[in-house]
Symmetry: C2
Subunit: 369 residues, 2 copies
DNA sequence: ATCAATTGTGCGAACGTTCTCATATTTAGG
DNA sequence: CCTAAATATGAGAACGTTCGCACAATTGAT
């Protein structure tokens, strides 16, 4: 490159032009300490004239604060994380904070790298949807190293960090209860249900029913299954294990296969409960492919409210998580910690809203015994 | 806070423990220069033992490179920006770069603040969907200050920065031609059409028809109107000015009002062309509200392919921009510039794909003369 | 054997801020 | 008038790295 001038106007040059020390120039430009009205003007004028831009790197190096918060999302491309991120970014911006973003794709290895990078970049705090809620030594280490953490959507067991979640268990129980009340006895469920530390779905059923399981220690999809089981128990309806479509991974393809299989059974469910945005879209796709009518052939309730649920055929009844609000709350908690709040850990549980629309009806007839 | 230890293990301490100079420790840990195998091991062991984490701030301050690229999106919450961002983040991560994100909400003032913040944080480059393509002095200044810029979706007139866009004019022309070929003579269009430097829609029509307008200097929605006009001209079909629904702002409410008005006319169009994701969703909403059947009562083609377009009633025919690819390309261009590429500006135009589905049919009858 | 690379090391100066300290000067209260 | 606070300034040391330089020690080709 021929020319590479400009850009590096330092505070020293501004000070020189203004005829004061760098210390004084720093004080007026950084706004910290005493300066005479006289010098304030002179320094500001010089800064303006030279087109001075403070170098936040240098400031951060000495203050130890970067005014940047790191975010590890699963996948910003999903409306779920996109909305949360929006909430975070808004609050951060309002306070002059920047947002450093990474995706984990729910892969622990990625998360590890991401957290590493963010910490090296000296972020003031970390907002994360943790992949692994049972161990996550790296997160414990981060906290120990003085980096406050706010968890989103799920909670690492025993981690000293705030959290913002939704009562998935109650919301799910509510959905299933509504379906049961409408007369459905065979309610299908499509859920990720990837990791559970202590066994398989059968074990899980037992543990829920004998109340020896703390839902707070689970991944959301397991919490939602928790509510599904509870609702059935409360209504005295036995659960057909075959109706619990465990996808086992966060994958559209796998979910599609699983859903098609579930809905193609001769004794297919009369109602379906999808447990997140991905499975809802996939289910809708399968339903269209199989030419099933909603709610005549199949009732449907979805977790996560997507824009198309408003205007599709009959509206789709759904649970809406307050996503941007969750992001905002997370950022607010974070900023409080950064400002020095060292009170006890806060675990916010925001209220989801229930969007009653037209996808639930009474079952037309029993498909099979 | 009672304890605030750990976290600050510096390279000096590592060096001391390893019994070498900070320079040597720096060389092995930073991987830049010569070091004996012997010392390499010793230093690495010491670093490991102390839990050393490099402070990228300090490194950046001296190298002048932060390995961070700034992104100014309109609104990450929209699938459009979310997908682009995903592409950017992937490429960045693969090269060890971080992504600093901000939203402009397409507001110049916000963009100004955002760019300011990013520059002060010393980003290595800026990827932006610029609000104002006619002036943007701040972007020219950034380039002059040595910060490479890659523009997305639209191009600031005369700005020395690369760009990644889509041929909106051609894609739009193609859509309209298909509708015309299907027999539609009254094709409605809903578009933002917020800013055009040189006048109103009438003037624009004239300028397009006498070929005195360079589409590259326009906002996407105007480019799409450009194609709409051209297609009509090519087919020899006169344009009814009333069918061009100019929303005038990026607002769902305004778009809804405009769309409802357009579709409620006694001489309503027999086909509709929506020009982005927002207007498509809004149009779908309006269509449902008015109880119009697709494609019987109304044919529909949308710009931007959204997930629900696959599984809604008849599939919705749409133009799909290669969003993640655009993000990836933008990041790639950016990284090349950062690595020192000072070749001529590149203006990439990626090919959109056309998803032919079931929302287009011949018009059933003329609604009115 | 000689000279020029190549390899290896440490010292101390950067980078652009803020911070600590020392030292004035002004203000205010008795 | 005196003293204590408040206001104002500058010199120079931080912050944690990398970089330039000087200087050895080792190579390898003539």
């Amino acid at each position: 490159m021929a020319e590479k001038r400009t850009s590096k106007v330092t505070i020293t040059e501004v000070a020189k032009l203004a005829g004061v020390s760098t210390a004084t120039a720093g004080r007026v430009l950084g706004g910290y300490g005493y300066t005479s009205e006289d010098n304030k003007e002179r320094v500001r004028a010089s800064a303006e004239k030279l087109g001075y831009r403070p170098n936040l790197l240098a400031r951060s190096l000495i203050t130890g604060k970067t005014k940047t918060i790191g975010v590890v999302a699963g996948d910003i491309q999903s409306p779920f994380y996109a909305s949360i991120l929006r909430g975070i970014a808004d609050v951060a911006r309002a306070q002059g904070f920047g947002v450093l973003l990474t995706n984990s794709d729910e892969l622990l290895e990625r998360e590890l790298e991401a957290v590493q990078l963010l910490l090296e970049k000296q972020i003031d705090g970390l907002i994360i949807a943790p992949c692994d809620i049972y161990d996550s030594a790296h997160l414990h280490a981060a906290v120990r190293a003085g980096c406050p953490i706010v968890q989103i959507d799920r909670i690492v067991n025993g981690l000293a960090g705030d959290s913002v979640t939704v009562d998935n268990r109650a919301a799910s129980r509510n959905c299933i209860s509504q379906l049961l009340a409408a007369g459905h006895h065979r309610i299908g469920m499509i859920a990720e249900l990837e990791r559970w530390a202590s066994g398989n779905v059968e074990t899980f059923l037992d543990r829920v029913l004998d109340s020896s399981l703390d839902p707070a220690t689970l991944f959301p999809s397991w919490q939602r299954l928790f509510g599904y089981i509870e609702a059935h128990a409360a209504a005295g309806i036995p659960i057909d294990r075959d109706l619990i479509g465990r996808v086992g991974a966060y994958s559209a393809e796998a979910a599609k296969t699983r859903t098609m299989a579930l809905l193609s059974r001769p004794d297919r469910p009369t109602a379906l409960f999808t447990v997140d945005g991905l499975t809802s879209a996939v289910a809708m796709d399968a339903i269209t492919a199989l030419n099933l009518r909603i709610p005549d052939d199949l009732s449907l309730i979805c977790f996560d409210d997507l824009d198309w649920m408003t205007f599709i055929k009959p509206g789709i009844t759904a649970v809406a998580q307050p996503l941007t609000a969750m992001g905002e709350a997370a950022a607010q908690l974070m900023l409080a910690r950064i400002k020095g709040d060292d009170g006890p850990m806060q675990h916010l549980s925001l209220e989801p809203t229930f969007a009653q629309r037209g996808s639930v009806a009474a079952p037309m007839f029993a498909t099979t015994a």
